[in-house]
Amino acid sequence: MKDLIIKLTEISSPSGSEEKVRNLIRNSIEKYVDDIKIDNMGNLIAIKKGNSKGKSIMFDAHMDEIGVIINHIDKNGFLRFSPVGGFFPIHAVTHRIQFQNGMVGVIGEELRKDYSKVTPLDKLYIDIGAGGKKEAEKYVGIGDVGNYFAKTIVMENRIIAKSLDDRIGCYIMIEAIKRIKKTKNTLYFVFTVQEEVGIRGARPAAFSINPDVAIAIDVTDTGDTPESSKMEVKLDDGAAIKIMDSGMLTNRKIREKLISLSKKNKIPYQLEILERGTTDAFGIQITAGGIPTGAISIPSRYIHSCSEMVSINDVNACIDLTVAFSKEYND
């Protein structure tokens, strides 16, 4: 378990360049599913076939992570960049960026005139230690993408890593896939692309599958750190069943089902209302005439930084709930 989590989180796959993590996920699930395909957007769709009496359920987690994209290499070999997804300046300065070819650089900033303010992204640059433009061009080019470079730490009940958003969701789906042996419901496990840049992968995927119901599995914020925003979700209180976020309200019947399944199977759970932020569930819900959609969330601190943190107990609760729903959903 530890190995897979480390591999999933340390790999480089920002939005738009998900090949590496897609291959890793594919290799991890191939022998446990009946069919695998990659659609026009690059989403990875794995199917566990049920029988004709069952329902079709789509589980969704996104493979992509936030990152940067190179705009310009200046004459001294420094790189100017734009964000890919919610890459925030407040987390960035002095952190390390890794490019697809393994090259690592440091984010630096122009002279800050006011130390009480955060330097905006267009006044930052990446330093790969090159002596000039020509040398830099040997390693990187315009349009190259990069992501945070950080070592994953797995403790007894905590994981600290970059891109737990949403590799931990992918991990949960992978484990669920391994655990589910027979199923009467047809299960579509969709590992989507480009969620961070506008929930772009999930919509075409949901449209082609057109499932009876869908569950998105992604991270959510917590209200359990000093003087944080007032939010009920806490690490270790279990799988967070989403009621609402800034993009959607979940389908009531589905969330009531998730709650009753948690109670029945003694899975620790909590209820989530997230003020800022949304997930693939928003895109799925409005597609194809309205797909009933719910969401299981993994409570996470420090989202969109290179040190996101989750509770392993919560992760296991999410796996249990995913498996329970896949078995027992029959409307």
């Binding site: 007032k230 939010m231 009621i243 959607m248 309205g290």
Partner: protein, 347 residues
């Protein structure tokens, strides 16, 4: 149909975005005597269907049935409730207001405010922030949990009042007044001959995600869509440029979001029927279901009629009943004018 009574019932009913069951149930009952069939589409939108004499074409009347409000986001140890907003709620209207907590049992609540005696004398008054406000039901921490949990919706407390000159006030005239108009159209159509099939669709969740608007057109594929919503009425703080006379007119919207020829035809009917209206210009999107309907599937020609109301998105929205009547008459006459030679033209 008694428009004022219907408006009273529907605006007093509860139906926050994604929690529309109660108002849907009441509306469905009202639709049944007026329509050939009532049913729900895939997304849960309520549809009242009325067959036309030729039935070759379909027109939908789309009015969103949900209302804005609050949702419980946390329960303090002493029983006070923290909340989040559903839809565009101005936090500044909340202190000192009454609400209804729609839990296992409906509970009355108040959103408290600090008496002036306890506030910093001479300090600068700032508006209350959401994090400073709580809903107080009078129950303690243990008792409240029997009825309420995170995710329990909370509505403005309804109280329908009559003002002078055919005006009245209550919560949710945005958009129950248009829903009433839609029902009245079905009533009027019993007297007018109409060739096209008519679908009155009461859409869900417009105030939050426009889920209903985005799915209604997909599930019922019409040739034309008539959306009805509320617009701003002139009042203190709303200039004559920004709002419309709530006693005299309804508005017909013009702009990229609306089909140019269909809108012209609607204006023609209004002129013929001597229904007073003004053109409401929408340079971009209209901010209503019309936005979602127009770009659904292969595209739906859409028109938008709006009823001016004062104090939008508060518990005391104010409308003139007569405007609901004239809006319904306009829609019914427009539908009656649609014939089988209808073409989607631009020029």
């Amino acid at each position: 149909m008694d428009i004022e009574k219907t408006l009273n019932i529907l605006s007093s009913a509860f139906g926050l975005s994604s929690f529309e069951d109660s108002v849907i149930e009441k509306t469905e009952k009202m639709c049944k005597p007026l329509a050939d069939k009532t049913y729900f589409d895939k997304a849960g939108n309520l549809i009242a269907y009325k067959k036309g004499t030729e039935g070759k074409n379909k027109v939908i009347i789309a009015t969103h049935i949900d209302e804005i409000g609050l949702i419980v986001s946390g329960i303090e140890k002493n029983g006070l409730l923290r909340f989040n907003t559903i839809g565009g709620v101005d936090i500044r209207i909340l202190p000192g207001s009454e609400v209804v907590v729609l839990g296992e049992k409906h509970l009355n609540g108040v959103i408290g405010s600090i008496p002036p005696h306890f506030q910093n004398k001479g300090g600068i008054l700032k508006p209350y922030e959401k994090s400073e406000l709580y809903i107080d039901t009078g129950f303690d921490g243990k008792a409240i949990r029997k009825y309420v949990d995170i995710g329990t919706p909370v509505a403005f407390k309804p109280k329908f009042i009559n003002l002078k000159n055919s005006k009245c006030s209550n919560k949710s005239f945005d958009n129950r007044s248009s829903c009433v108009a839609s029902l009245y159209v079905l009533d009027l159509l019993r007297k007018y001959n109409h060739k096209w099939d008519v679908y009155s669709i009461f859409t869900l969740q417009e105030e939050y995600t426009m889920l209903g608007g985005r799915t209604a057109g997909y599930n019922t594929i019409p040739d034309l869509a008539i959306a009805m919503d509320a617009t701003f009425g002139q009042q203190p703080g709303v200039s004559d440029d920004q709002g419309y006379d709530i006693d005299k007119i309804l508005t017909i919207s013009r702009g990229p979001n609306l089909h140019i020829k269909a809108t012209e035809e609607l204006m023609y009917v209004a002129d013929e029927e001597k229904i007073p209206y003004e053109i409401e210009v929408s340079p971009r999107m209209s901010g209503t279901d019309a936005m979602a309907l127009q770009t659904t599937g292969k595209g739906i020609p859409t028109v938008l009629i709006s009823l001016p109301i004062r104090n939008m998105h508060t518990s005391l929205e104010t409308i003139n009943i007569n405007i609901i009547k004239t809006a319904s008459k306009l829609v019914a006459r427009f539908i009656a004018s649609l014939d089988s030679n209808y073409e989607n033209r631009f020029e």
